[in-house]
């Protein structure tokens, strides 16, 4: 009948990863504003690859890892397997990512190898930790199925990255490095980030929206379609492009079911969406163009559609990373960071004093504004890439930078509660006696 909470605060693991990630996002946007050709030029250049790793590893992976250590024990209803492994991962990640980015920028593969080894070891510990947390004991839900599948994809993507690096160092030969790079990118984007996002949303969104999962069958269906997509994308990229349209179709179906499930949960919620949830749900607006363009690109690669313009891969990357994933992850960050601070500072005082609510920790107007400005900045960036316009990319990066500055101001406000506690004693004389019956 009763059980204890599986989720003690992991603030000193999650928070440093979050701050590391937010700083990388801010840095990436400043860099993009100064050098818009990162998105409008050809993608196979040292600086573009360095930029992709600032966004992918420095920003997205840091936030996903930080969220995982706090949220996955909640989703799995099990305590985190090992805090020590998580701390080692934190150190390896924070040390390894800047080295990798520096190595890519200056095309020094030996530096990339050093940083990459640290990052790889860190993620090996992450995968072990998350899998072991899910298994004690295993509850088979759409979230656990999706997280396990995303961990397999991540392992594959890391293996491919190690293979490409070994080839660059001359330790092994690779016939088609661009195909391998494509397999690495799609395994990370669709197989890890999008699948992980969908899987975790099936636990977190109902929890925040105060509704049950509207259809477990639909949620499992989306996870299965993502898995089929990744299984076909990889051989399609490496050897058999004819498989790519089918892979893209499955990815689109997975994204479609994920959107329908999220929209159904939102429409049934008794709650008005707050700024964090609005920002999170803005990710859904980008899914249709991501799915349609991925399908078109797959048809191109298989030889069934004409090549209309260059930069379609970059456009898909921009919509998926700056649109879907950034909205979803910043939205979740806007919910998780106040929770971490609240749990650390005020949870022990609940019932002893009048403590602030989570909404009292944030600037609600800033978060509401961000729910519009972040997606708008994502659209501007995508327009800039689609029209190959450096000026439009700079406008998008500028709006994004302003949004991230506002987000960081809100973050500082939340963190101020760590050193400036704002609870008040209960005013017991005001405790009323007002006979209102509880529903049976």
């Amino acid at each position: 009948m009763s059980k204890s909470s599986p989720a003690p605060s992991q603030i000193w693991i999650a928070l440093p990863l979050f701050i590391f990630g937010f700083l990388h996002l801010a840095g990436a946007l400043l860099w993009l504003g100064a050098e818009p050709s990162l998105l409008t030029g050809h993608f196979y250049q040292p600086r573009v690859i360095a930029f992709a790793h600032v966004m992918g590893l420095g920003f997205l992976m840091s936030l996903v890892a930080g969220s995982s250590y706090q949220l996955l024990p909640v989703a799995f209803e099990n305590p985190l397997f090992s805090r020590s492994l998580a701390k080692i991962h934190l150190v390896l990640h924070v040390g390894g990512v800047p080295a990798m980015v520096y190595g890519f920028m200056h095309w020094q593969m030996s530096v990339v190898a050093v940083g990459g080894t640290a990052v790889l070891c860190g993620f090996a510990l992450y995968i072990l930790n998350v899998a072991a947390t899910a298994l004690r004991p295993l509850r088979w839900t759409p979230t656990t199925a999706g997280v396990f599948a995303s961990l397999v994809s991540l392992s594959f993507a890391l293996g491919v990255a190690a293979w490409i690096l070994a080839a660059k160092l001359g330790w092994t030969a690779v016939r088609d490095p661009l195909a391998l790079l494509g397999a690495h990118t799609y395994a990370i984007l669709i197989g890890f980030f999008l699948l992980f996002l969908a899987a975790v949303s099936y636990t977190l969104l109902p929890m925040f929206l105060l509704v049950p999962l509207t259809s477990a069958r639909r949620a499992f269906g989306s996870v299965n379609y993502f898995i089929l997509a990744v299984v076909l994308f990889i051989p399609g990229q490496l050897a058999a492009p004819v498989l790519l349209p089918l892979a893209a179709l499955f990815a689109s179906l997975g994204l479609g079911l994920y959107s329908v499930e999220n929209i159904a949960a939102i429409s049934r919620s008794p709650r008005r969406l707050d700024g964090g949830l609005r920002l999170y749900t803005a990710n859904l607006a980008f899914l249709l163009p991501v799915a349609a363009l991925t399908l078109f690109r797959a048809l191109q690669l298989a030889g069934y559609a004409p090549t209309l313009a260059r930069g379609l891969d970059t456009l898909i990357f921009t919509l998926a990373v700056f649109g879907t994933l950034t909205c979803a992850i910043l939205g979740m960050g806007a919910k998780i960071v106040p929770f971490l601070v609240w749990q650390h500072r005020y949870a022990p005082l609940l019932g002893r004093a009048a403590v602030p609510k989570l909404s009292d920790l944030v600037y609600t107007r800033i978060l509401t504004a961000l729910a519009w400005s972040v997606p708008a900045a994502g659209v501007l960036l995508a327009l800039g890439v689609a029209t190959q316009s450096d000026r439009t990319v700079q406008c998008g990066a500028g709006l994004f930078c302003l949004s991230v500055c506002a987000f960081l101001a809100n973050l500082l406000h939340v963190l101020s509660h760590l050193w400036q506690s704002k609870e008040k004693p209960f005013n017991t004389t005001k405790m009323p006696f007002n006979a209102v019956a509880i529903k049976p």
């Binding site: 009948m1 009763s2 059980k3 204890s4 909470s5 599986p6 989720a7 909640v74 989703a75 209803e77 636990t203 109902p206 929890m207 925040f208 105060l210 509704v211 049950p212 049934r268 008794p270 709650r271 008005r272 707050d274 700024g275 929770f339 609240w342 749990q343 005020y346 949870a347 022990p348 609940l350 019932g351 002893r352 009048a354 403590v355 609510k357 989570l358 909404s359 609600t364 509401t368 209960f426 017991t428 405790m431 009323p432 006696f433 007002n434 006979a435 209102v436 509880i438 529903k439």
Partner: protein, 105 residues
């Protein structure tokens, strides 16, 4: 079972001072308090159903509820039971709670 010095309604009114920190609504209007009963020694038993089995705050809410119940005059002991059977449903939110949730950002 009911004594003259302790009233279940007083317990409920004290529990209205305990908010779910994420939602911002007190746990009574949120429909988390399922039953309140007491014996003639002043020992109170409250059954609480968190809004989700994954709720990361239910340990703190249970402890907070225990502390709030112990403030009620006449209470000698508070036993807070967490139950997920039946699971919480939005239908349990009071009309006042529904109004609050629709308007609050």
């Amino acid at each position: 079972m009911i004594t003259s010095s302790l009233d279940d309604q007083a317990v409920i009114e004290h529990l209205r001072f305990l908010d779910d920190p994420e939602v911002g609504l007190n746990i009574v209007d949120l429909g988390m308090v399922r039953s309140v009963s007491h014996d003639d020694q002043g020992s109170v038993r409250v059954v609480i159903t968190p809004t989700s089995p994954n709720c990361p705050m239910h340990d703190q809410i249970v402890e907070g509820a225990r502390l709030m119940v112990e403030r009620v005059p006449g209470v000698t002991a508070a036993d807070i039971i967490v139950s997920f059977d039946p699971p919480w449903t939005p239908d349990w939110i009071t009309p006042a709670g529904q109004e609050f949730l629709k308007n609050r950002l």
